[in-house]
């Protein structure tokens, strides 16, 4: 299906459908939509239609079926979509956010050794945080198998459930993204044992990026360029006015989910996330390697998953240096 691509290659489509999650790590989209940046860049010929998803699978289903043309997602769904479609379905055209992931534990725990025999939650078996935790544990000489056994018991469960089980003492820690990390700290007195940024070169690793349907990219490169322009402007806005952007994002969240984040959680979470146009390709590839190493992913060839040509053109036009897809 070619969804919104109802015109010939090159011509602007009547509509572009963009997906994102009502989630603080998707602040680029939240701010961009709230401030009308996408609409502005797309111009009058093309209308923006946004779709919000509750999680990665729904977003990928929508991309696969041609129901959206571009969407913000995390690294896992992107790798999935790439490998399941054998490199045919999507391209990553820009990065959006980095960081904002922590291992939060009960106050008593201060060293990795103390995690022995403890239960640690991750958002989902085999997702980036799950892989990161497992890899980190092997580095520290602790064993954890994919079935929940070993020195440390890894309990994959939804983040909301983590909030609850951490409070009731069912788990001893969690490797989770924002805003859940901040909530564990602020609400349940959790302590940060690991800031995942510390594990990566330049303290940078991808948490959100923008993917586009390959077909759409082929047919409407200009429209994608306009999307990327808006995307870059949104990130620039966030960088230049973090406090204001945080409020904008929170207002958008309120609109979408009916519930805004508490100010202290919002501030702390926003501070821990870096918004960047760089998809930090190296972290994606390394993460995939780690996943393979801990036995959660078959060897996957990520070569060609990035198409940063448009991004680099946009950056060049703004006089910024190009970004590598390696």
């Amino acid at each position: 299906g070619s969804g919104g691509g109802d015109s010939k290659a090159g011509a602007a489509p009547a509509e572009v459908r963009l997906g994102f999650f009502p989630n603080i790590t998707h602040a680029t989209a939240l701010v961009g939509v709230e401030k009308g940046l996408y609409a502005k860049h797309l111009g009058s010929g093309t209308t923006l239609k946004t779709s919000t998803f509750n999680a990665g699978p729904a977003a990928i289903e929508a991309v696969f079926s041609g129901a959206v043309d571009a969407t913000y997602v995390g690294p896992n769904p992107a790798i999935n979509a790439w490998s399941k479609s054998k490199g045919k379905a999507i391209k990553i055209v820009a990065g959006a956010a980095s960081g904002g992931v922590f291992l939060v534990v009960k106050p008593g725990i201060t060293t990795p050794e103390q995690l022995k025999g403890k239960k640690i939650a991750t958002p989902q078996l085999g997702n980036t945080q799950d892989v990161a935790l497992r890899y980190w544990l092997t580095e520290k000489g602790l064993k954890a198998d994919t079935k929940g056994g070993g020195d440390v018991h890894i309990v994959p469960q939804e983040n909301s459930q983590t909030i609850q089980t951490f409070a009731t003492g069912d788990i001893d820690g969690a490797w989770v993204p924002e805003p859940f990390a901040s909530r564990l700290i602020k609400e349940s007195g959790g302590k940060v044992l690991v800031d995942e940024r510390d594990l990566w070169p330049n303290k940078q690793f991808v948490i959100t990026h923008l993917i586009v349907r390959q077909e759409f990219l082929k047919e409407h490169p200009d429209t994608v360029r306009k999307l990327v322009e808006a995307h870059v402007e949104a990130n620039d806005l966030i960088k230049s006015d973090p406090a204001g952007s945080a409020r904008t994002a929170n207002a958008a969240l309120q609109k979408l989910t009916g519930k805004a984040l508490k100010p202290e959680v919002l501030d702390s979470a926003f501070k821990n996330i870096t918004f960047t146009d760089d998809p930090i390709a190296s972290s994606l590839v390394t993460s995939a390697e780690h996943a393979t190493k801990v036995g959660l992913l078959d060897q996957v060839d990520l070569n060609g998953i990035y198409d940063l040509k448009i991004l680099n053109e946009v950056l060049a036009a703004k006089g910024q240096s190009p970004i590598s897809d390696k």
Partner: protein
């Protein structure tokens, strides 16, 4: 006379079971209908408050009645709540209506055509056990990100119940009535319309009730499929309340869902009472 009077013999529960319903005054009846509900609500609230006061869990994990009701009151004061309610109810009604239509046709065909029944009869229950999320990819493939995708999931959830209710009713139609209908010259469609359908009505109604429950649950899941901007829905609210581990929000949404479920049950109850009155079943158990 020392003999026991019957009034005493059938006292208590049995009197209740067998005595005919005497029409009491309107006020008395209203009161009889209200106090048990009021009492039940009061008991639940009290127990809930007690649990919270016991302090087993922090309030942000398990909100107390006060917090929850405040949250609910807050929501009731906002236009968004009513928008969400309208959107969800509209979807539920449309989806359910479609499911009834589909279920009726499928149930009617399957119940009377033997090879078809052999072929796909069991499939109906099979489909019923299929969780909604399994249909999501197909729904999106077929309908894209549209209302239709939601309705598709709702129909797939509810239609099997409706069909199964009808089939059960048909199977348990008293043979003597079928024979009577046959002798009156009714065949196939007319037999269906004049004999089988009315005779199956009680069972069909039960199927509808179950179908509504399936439809509603499927809807709650399905509303996450397509989150349409500026069109809030109950399913979405439920999900986000949970996603954000927002205990008062979750409990408030649960109350709303419960209340809707109860109201719908009352509607079914009215239909059911009318039916039983017609069939002369109310006299004994009323």
């Amino acid at each position: 006379m020392a003999a026991d009077t019957h009034a005493r013999q059938i006292a208590g529960l049995d009197a209740l079971e067998l005595a005919p319903a005497r029409r009491a005054g309107l006020l008395t009846r209203a009161w009889a209908g209200t106090w048990p509900v009021a009492l039940a609500v009061a008991l639940v609230l009290a127990a809930w408050e007690l649990v919270v006061l016991a302090g087993w869990w922090p309030e942000y994990v398990f909100a107390g009645p006060l917090t929850t009701l405040t949250e609910l009151g807050h929501r009731l004061g906002e236009a968004e709540f009513y928008q969400a309610l309208t959107v969800t109810l509209r979807r539920a009604v449309v989806g359910f209506a479609l499911a009834i239509a589909v279920g009726l046709v499928v149930g009617a065909l399957v119940s009377r055509i033997r090879p078809l029944r052999r072929a796909v009869g069991s499939l109906i229950t099979g489909l019923q056990t299929m969780p909604s999320i399994a249909w999501f990819p197909l729904a999106i493939l077929l309908f894209g990100l549209s209302e239709s995708a939601i309705l598709f999931v709702v129909v797939l959830g509810a239609a099997p119940s409706v069909a199964n209710g009808l089939i059960a009713g048909v199977d348990y139609t008293p043979p003597i009535l079928l024979r009577a209908g046959h002798m009156l010259g009714f065949r196939r469609l007319t037999l269906y319309r004049h004999v089988i359908l009315p005779a199956s009505l009680p069972s069909f109604l039960a199927g509808l009730k179950q179908g509504w429950a399936f439809a509603w649950r499927s809807l709650m899941a399905g509303e996450l499929l397509v989150i349409i901007a500026n069109r809030p829905s109950l399913g979405e609210q439920l999900h986000f309340a949970r996603e954000l581990a927002d205990s008062p929000g979750l409990l408030a949404t649960m109350i709303v869902i419960l209340v809707i479920g109860i109201l719908v049950d009352r509607l079914f109850g009215l239909a059911d009472n009318a039916l039983r009155r017609r069939w002369g079943l109310h006299q004994v158990t009323a």
